[in-house]
Symmetry: C2
Subunit: 204 residues, 2 copies
């Protein structure tokens, strides 16, 4: 499940922070709570971390590592078609963001606590990178201008974020999950078909 490393106190603090922040939100969880849940006191926290946001950052990193493991696994290898690639990748993203800690830490509290730039820096290597990877294939195929790939990837990532959160608050998450996946499929497939047609119109 995890690396069988000795599971230091720092890991315990991160683990409990991750759990408590996911349950109650960053603002509603005190440093003492996290320390007590880990069987320690505040002194240990402020020795391992600079401040509360630093602890939050560490928890975000841990959650993001799980997301990265889950997403990367089954997408980078199997890429028969950019549509398949990005839709499968988006599906894996929705799966990964079904976890409560990923939603709460990485999507809700993240931007407010870390600031938007740090949040983007956190998301860039994993999810945005995945989308940019697929978009890069479109650019290689001449369907897209290379210059807008980063921006376009960011926009599509934004759509995925809202999709994941829409599933989270739905009364029927299972039905919402299907709806969101269908809508993303429609959006991406439509976009792909559109740019393909436009490229054909340019060079018949």
């Amino acid at each position: 499940m995890m690396s069988t490393a000795p599971l230091t106190n720092r890991d315990r603090l991160v683990f409990q922070a991750r759990r408590l922040f996911a349950e109650n939100g960053y603002a509603a969880v005190s440093v003492d709570e996290v320390a007590a849940a880990a069987g320690l006191t505040k002194g240990a926290v402020y020795y391992q971390f600079k401040d509360k946001t630093d602890l939050f950052r560490a928890a975000c990193d841990a959650v993001m590592m799980d997301v990265a493991r889950y997403v990367d696994l089954s997408t980078m290898a199997e890429s028969p078609h950019p549509l398949q690639e990005i839709v499968v990748g988006g599906g894996k993203m929705f799966d990964a963001y079904e976890a409560a800690d990923a939603r709460r830490l990485l999507l809700i509290d993240g931007p407010a606590v870390l600031g938007f730039e740090q949040w983007i820096a956190l998301q860039e290597p994993v999810c945005i990178g995945l989308i940019a990877h697929a978009m890069g294939h479109l650019a290689e195929a001449g369907l897209l201008d290379d210059a807008i790939v980063p921006t376009l990837s960011h926009l599509v990532f934004g759509a995925f974020v809202q999709g994941a959160l829409r599933i989270a608050i739905a009364a029927d998450p299972q039905a919402a999950s299907l709806e969101v996946r269908a809508a993303t499929l429609t959006l991406i497939r439509g976009f792909l078909a559109g740019v393909t047609q436009e490229a054909q119109d340019r060079q018949p």
Copy 2:
């Protein structure tokens, strides 16, 4: 500029809250600061508002009213084509979210402070509604399934949100603004062309 109503103390509190929250973020602004900036004390705040988040909510409402005024003005009327409609609407959204208070209150701190459901309820009548309006035209034209219009609108809204924030953190906001607008145009135009073609393929 505004309604020339007597400008009550409540308005002053909301105005200063809006300003300070935009400058320093929700967490870094104390209730006493807001009260002092309005020439009052904390007692006035807790008489007018239930708690700090209620004050924040009121500030968000004020900012959102400005956004709504700005967005609705020049989009609902002129709708020659769904592409024009949604792209012009998105452009107005980017203009509206260039204001620092709109970005910070409505896009960064909003979800974390209000919770995601309340945040969506705040965004729904204005920006998401605008997109859903344009998407509805596509559904009427048979290019889209009615059932996925709300979900699809939410996804596109997510893309616009990230676009607005991408402009905000860019080293060169002017250039970033052009890039984001170009990317949204590519995304929406591609999507429209794609669904149009698919509809034609279904019924030739």
